[in-house]
Amino acid sequence: MMGFWIFLITDCILFGSVFATFAVLHGNSAGGPLLSDMIELNGVIAETFILLTSSFTSGLAVLSMNRGDRKGLIGWLAVTAILGAAFITLEVTEFVKLVDEGVTIATSASWSSFYTLVGMHGLHVSLGLVWMAAIMLQIAKRGITPVTRRKVGIVSLYWHFLDVVWIFVFTIVYLMEVM
């Protein structure tokens, strides 16, 4: 647990560096479209509440595990993964729409920093989905053992962390640009 916590903090520093890049470059649109011209909040607001709810349900999974309830544990992990998949679907839809409208990662420094920051968070969530699916299979096969307990604890900590990072992405990249 301690080792994973240290990983999370280093991941925080990685995100911090990309946030710093975004903070410096977000206005450098090279005469092209500004972030605020193209961003649509509706999908992003839905993403925010979906990810927040999934953070809560991953907590409920841990509570089921602490009660020794294997079905509840797998069920809540499945709910969490489905919400995570919905989040990714909305994000990919947003990216596809933006690229269709002509803004890509190569458009300008401001769009490069946008896609890098938001995309890096999306990749973390996607990785978490694969990881969660693997843990669900393990629990289905081996039940709640000290080893699977530790794994569930770690993946739920990772999931809470991704929600925290998203709060800052939502605030700094979306709300403060649109404002």
């Binding site: 607001i45 927040l52 709300l175 404002m179």
Partner: protein
């Protein structure tokens, strides 16, 4: 299963998760309402938005990630504080340097 507790295991209760979830919902809704209705602008709006985000970070650390329940010595807290110091240095330093590096 065995009832022995792992030292670093989380002991969250349903109550703490529900409180954390509700507080997070409120702290997400406040900046959203302010931005969608143009209630504030300029520096005060930025302070409110960032303040809500930081508060939500603290709420989730306590209610979801159980930072408060950590036993002494509080290594996790120490690593977190070091991480925050590094992140703030990188972000604030980058903004500071690049503000004076712009070609007018």
């Amino acid at each position: 299963m065995a009832h022995q507790h792992d030292e670093h295991e989380s002991h969250g209760s349903l109550k703490s998760y529900v409180i954390g979830f509700l507080l997070s919902l409120v702290l997400t809704a406040i900046p959203l309402i302010v931005v969608l209705n143009d209630l504030m602008e300029g520096t005060s709006a930025k302070v409110l938005l960032l303040g809500s985000a930081v508060l939500q970070f603290v709420v989730q650390l306590f209610y979801f990630m159980h930072l408060k329940e950590e036993k002494k010595p509080r290594y996790n807290l120490a690593v977190l504080l070091l991480g925050i110091a590094i992140v703030l240095t990188i972000v604030a330093g980058s903004i500071w340097i690049m503000t004076y590096n712009k070609v007018a």
